[in-house]
Symmetry: C2
Subunit: 441 residues, 2 copies
Amino acid sequence: MNRLEPTDPAALPPIKVALLGCGVVGSQVARLITQQSEDLTNRVGQRIELVGIAVRSLERDFGGLDPELFTTDADALVSRGDLDVVVEVVGGIEPVRSLVLKAIEHGASVVTANKALLAQDGETLFSAAERAGVDLYYEAAVAGAIPIVRPLRESLVGDEITTVMGIVNGTTNYILDQMTTTGADFADALAQAQELGYAEADPTADIEGFDAAAKAAIMATLAFHTRVRGADVYREGITQVSAADIAAARKAGCVVKLLAVLRLDDAGRVSVRVHPALVPDSHPLAGIHGAYNAIFVESREAGRLMFMGPGAGGSPTASAVMGDLVTVARNRVRGVAGPGESVYAEREIMPMGEVETRYLVRVEVTDEPGVLAACATVFSNHNVSVQTVDQTTAENTDEQVAVLALMTHLARESDLQAVVAELGTRPFTRGPVAVIRVEGK
Amino acid sequence: MNRLEPTDPAALPPIKVALLGCGVVGSQVARLITQQSEDLTNRVGQRIELVGIAVRSLERDFGGLDPELFTTDADALVSRGDLDVVVEVVGGIEPVRSLVLKAIEHGASVVTANKALLAQDGETLFSAAERAGVDLYYEAAVAGAIPIVRPLRESLVGDEITTVMGIVNGTTNYILDQMTTTGADFADALAQAQELGYAEADPTADIEGFDAAAKAAIMATLAFHTRVRGADVYREGITQVSAADIAAARKAGCVVKLLAVLRLDDAGRVSVRVHPALVPDSHPLAGIHGAYNAIFVESREAGRLMFMGPGAGGSPTASAVMGDLVTVARNRVRGVAGPGESVYAEREIMPMGEVETRYLVRVEVTDEPGVLAACATVFSNHNVSVQTVDQTTAENTDEQVAVLALMTHLARESDLQAVVAELGTRPFTRGPVAVIRVEGK
């Protein structure tokens, strides 16, 4: 019992919470509100009462919850007018966007796990929350249970964040990890992930990088205090990653990861991109296996920080939602709202062509004298400096063919693309040129 | 510029900040307040103005700061009555405790990095802050720049934390890392750490585990919502760790780390301890090298999380202080205080004898038939189950002597101590019995 507060918190009027969605995450949230009632009361200072759950259909298993709580009329639920907090774990854009705005207009604070909505239209939601004087919290929207929103929003807010680099999608990390450990190709690893429930029947949002791009946009907005939307993020998925890419990575002492890479350059411009990348074995992100997530943050004063944990799943995501729910409920008890968005800078988002990184370029060439020099000349023609070259003889070919794997120093994306284009026109080139970016070196 | 707030924040009255201490951390805080003025104004909503710096002596390098800011009269500074925030980076108990209380009584919020003070008398400080309606923030007190206070206090507050296991002292991690990589003994590794500035001239607080114990107490209070003081923490330093311990760890596939281990058992009792421990190479904490810190958190819903980063140093600690300063300043701008302490449970703190963990026990015995069986009987006499035994021949002895290294299953500390006592009385035992706990397996 708090020694300074003799009032029995259980006797005070409750904090009324409505839940939108009761699937994998929502059912866990409902369970935790119910099971942990006493602890939550002590932590919040008033009781948390679940007053309604909006679902698509009432023909369902209520999972031990009071069937009276359930309704299919989400609109009526968020418009009750007496709600303190609406927890949204439905996902997608509409009708959720309208429901959340309506809840805010009716004076409720909102806790959401909806990365797609925040990345597409966060501005509208945050403006509405600020006008209404309510909270909009979203720790669960990025990297599941890993606390990353609060560290970016509060812990590092007195510092200048220069880099955020993360594995923020568990499905793709699981697939790439499988490809690395078993040598499987992408299709087989995806099928296995689907069988085990790590990938959805329609895996597009994950494997094409849309999910990671939405999270990257949210993190960039927080880290750089400037508006970054999902559509601003350069995005490549993992569907083109081949077993040969994985093997080439291993040979270079690296693993392939789908990374979200956010950088602030010295001129104050930001770049935000999601793509497969080689990460050296020695980098902490290389050791993140299976469906785990990890986020590496570099700032001017704090240096290098890393956060890791389960990036998805019902219970971990529910944990993040519950942390926000308690924080928002504490604010309601004290009659205040937490700090709003801190988006005051209007930073230029760099076009991908101007981004600088390192590359591993693989090309099959005719195995003749002078080809290596000719190939190296193509790189220097476009100001791309080569750090290492690895030449091997190609297997299973009749012709005398060599495979060159060239690791570059830092180079501009547009210059590298010019190298690839020119290599494609040269007579010594046999087959397509494979390029993969290299990060964390 | 915030689109919803047309007022120019720079035109509003400033948030007045006083700094107690201007050493390694304080000088960086002063620099950041001055250098980042525009960003801070945008992030806070009002200008942050450094109005005074209390130091021990004015015969000093002012480091480019206005000499007029400096004073030796800390008491007068905190009693000005117009301060919004006092940042305390002096350390130690008195006179800091009195100064912080006086600042709070005069209506200032406090940001502190003082782990010793919070671990000894946090209750008094938090009560005073709550009475005065001001904030007391202390992210920098635990693990430097690593955001751990906010994750424990807010992100995981809707979950039940069951384990916190951390490397929270950079000096001892550096020393143990050196012993591991170079084979140096403790005294040499300490001397080297002192030479490089990783250890202080009087290293007692670090090497005897007092610093880690204070951080453990602060984390336990946050994680388990019950009061845990520094004196409640079982504590062993690293001065007794020998090159032989390190070698035995390597042989067992482990490294030696100084760990803070906090657990909540199924009966709701807590155990909080700081001691050297073997950590398996496969555990993420085993890969934390040099002066880095890392904290591993396990909770019922979120699962396993880990946070890592620089655990000390002027700039990283200043980053954590600045994050708190901006948060507290934002609260002042909005006329609110953040949530206070959540200490409502009165949990039993387990005596060390009742704690269960695993152990590596090393004992030199006469190399005769029946000794292994006799030795194993001593373990079973006290209900300690042995998992593995490794027997080798001792070097440099005239007698026929064997070294037994026995790894136990989970056992009670008091039972293990009884095993050690009985082994000491047995005629087959040659020399002292070496025991080191094993965590993270």
